[in-house]
Symmetry: C2
């Protein structure tokens, strides 16, 4: 008998029929002799509806009240899922985040988990019940309802798996697992059987939207092995775990593409100590998330600073930059254009040279011009023209031999 945590996202519990499907899958897991904790999200669409209603009443709703509001989405799903399990003869009981003792700090709408008691989950499991836990939510020390931010249900699942010492944590979603590239972009992409936390994190931050990074970071910190798999079939998924030596044999595990980036160039920054710090402090204060950064110092003593930001952040970035350097004329200071980011990720990269060379060669052969480059220990990203994004992804995927045999 194993103790398994299964997480189902909003699409997987989107309507009554899909909740029935989840119940059937949970029953299969129970019938195979396992104890099961099910973590569910709000039905897809519910959270957006609630947010729309809130914004109609108040353009800037209070964070605490937003948490009070949004927590109802998951609370609805846990009750419905428990009822669906009862209907097919599976004993089950629902628990809110607070009831499961998911304690967080007081940072409403983006709370961090500080501890998990698990409440009576172990006792309920030992009494033969499936426990349905509301994802995304917890409670602060003073008894307020908190939420964990976008994708927080993944975090709830990994955290409860750590707290109850689950044998396996399954993140059930609408894809079959983690792929070497997005199959919609690279048709011969292959499902990865095993991947390290670190490579998973780099893939996610490079545009592969399988899971929220905080959940992966939490899993890494507490060494929770988890599997990303489909809610709709029984194919084996991708196991995400600590790096093992054999993983290093795979130099590159995947290619990620992010087409929602913009390249921003700030021109004529006075080239004196502190200018760059001032710029990025201002962007940080404006809530702009900066990714790749390149600096060039011109012959005239003025620097150009180029970086990428999510496309939605361009306007905020422009306002922050203009406010930062009032001595420069605004229309000569700021340029922005769309850019696509292609990244190759792999823990084996550490011990192998030549990855960058192979990447650049593949792109050059395909006539793709590289506008920006940035590297981390296990990732190389290039910024390219969006029109080349699909072709570049396929070229790079082939160059590293990632396709299906």
């Amino acid at each position: 008998m194993a103790l398994i945590v299964q997480k189902y996202g909003g699409t997987s519990v989107g309507d009554v029929d899909r909740i029935k499907n989840v119940a059937r899958r949970v029953k299969e897991t129970v019938d195979a002799g396992n104890q099961v904790v099910v973590v569910v999200s709000a039905r897809s669409g519910v959270t957006n509806d609630l947010i729309a209603r809130a914004k109609a009443l108040n353009p800037k709703p209070d964070d605490r009240e937003m948490d009070m509001l949004l927590a109802v989405g998951e609370q609805e799903t846990i009750a419905l899922t428990a009822m669906a399990l009862h209907a097919i003869g599976v004993p089950a009981v629902s628990r809110t985040g607070a009831q499961a003792g998911i304690l967080t700090d007081i940072e409403h709408t983006r709370a961090r988990i500080t501890s998990i008691s698990g409440g009576d989950i172990r006792a309920q499991l030992d009494a033969g019940k499936v426990v349905i836990l509301a994802g995304f939510q917890g409670h602060s020390p003073d008894g307020q309802i908190t939420t964990l931010g976008r994708g927080g249900s993944d975090l709830s699942a990994v955290a409860i798996a750590a707290a109850v010492k689950a044998d396996l944590c399954q993140i059930c979603t609408d894809v079959d697992g983690v792929y070497t590239a997005d199959p919609r972009v690279v048709p011969n992409a292959r499902k990865i059987d095993e991947i390290s936390y670190e490579a998973m994190l780099e893939l996610a931050s490079s545009g592969s939207k399988v899971m929220q990074n905080r959940a992966v970071e939490f899993a890494q910190k507490f060494n929770v092995v988890f599997e990303v798999r489909s809610s709709f079939n029984n194919n084996p998924g991708t196991i995400v775990k600590e790096e093992v030596p054999s993983m290093e044999d795979v130099v590159v595990s995947g290619v990620a593409l992010d087409v929602n980036q913009a390249k921003v160039t700030v021109l004529q920054i006075p080239d004196r100590p502190g200018s760059a710090a001032k710029l990025f402090q201002a962007l940080g204060a404006a809530g702009v998330s900066v990714d790749m950064i390149v600096q060039n110092i011109g012959r005239d003593g003025l620097a150009n600073m180029t970086f990428t930001v999510p496309r939605d952040d361009v306007q905020r970035a422009e306002a922050a930059v203009i406010a930062c350097f009032p001595e420069v004329e605004a229309d000569q200071l700021f340029e922005a254009s769309d850019i696509a980011k292609v990244s190759v990720v792999g823990v084996g990269m550490r011990s192998h040279s030549g990855v960058a060379a192979k990447l650049f060669a593949a792109l050059a052969e395909g006539g793709v011009n590289i506008e920006l480059v940035s590297t981390s220990e296990i990732k190389i990203s290039v910024g390219i023209d969006p029109k080349d994004a699909v072709a570049a992804s396929r070229l790079v995927h082939d160059a590293f031999g990632l396709g299906q045999a």
Copy 2:
């Protein structure tokens, strides 16, 4: 400065615009120098949607999970109402039933309040905030979410008013107050300025659907004076309070009409001790709510028992009766037909004779045949043909001089 509890039902918070209306009314009360606790229901329709989803998954959903599910309706409203107040500059904070320390027994879906700590409501009020409390819900000693049954938000309002020693409890609804009769039936019906708890209870149980009886009973027990008034205008409503001597001058306060009743006759019951007890035990066990009862013993040693039940309970009543007397042929045992119940209610009735005489005379003059009669200390009800219901209500209303001058 007074401390006022205001309760708004589902219709009053039915959509974003109506929630804004509630916020404006609360602000007026605050601007007049009062502390305010607002109790809200789920938006109208939300509870029924949730129930429909539950039934689609499980025809007999578990009561505990039903409470987990239904509690989200009010939780949504409290957050939205707080946001609406913030938007017009009124400091406010929402509280669930559990956070307000509304402790109940463990009878899920029909829990009874056992105590109310109020949580930090007093502290929040003293800090200058409006407190928005989720009606209809509480929590059991073991931390489970419970609900108080249909109309439970009225009960929440009265109970929190008692707990915080409010100066006034306003039940804001879609009518202007308690009327001498339903104005849709009796056009010259008049709003009652003051009514006793007892008369209010009899009116409600006789088909006047202004408030749930449990809330009135609770108010009577803890001597909470409350006002039934409109959510949509500023007309004074009806004050409900302990009987005072002047109330006895009013022999009859109102006429109530209930057209959702059926008259059931059980024929040929063996006329021996215990037959009636057996019958009503069986009906009780089947969840049939029995109202007026008349027994006639025939010459042949068999009794006829006639009683009224809500029309929706007729089928259950029939099944229970047939199972109860297997020795009688089923098609000779049970008869049912629709009936309307007209009641006159008034605490002055105790000390005045002649009310029944005046009632029967009015109906006789109008040619209305009386099929059943039942009386309590402050109420006389007659069962009549539904086709006579409207005419009878007007005749009786006029006979007791209840109309507007």
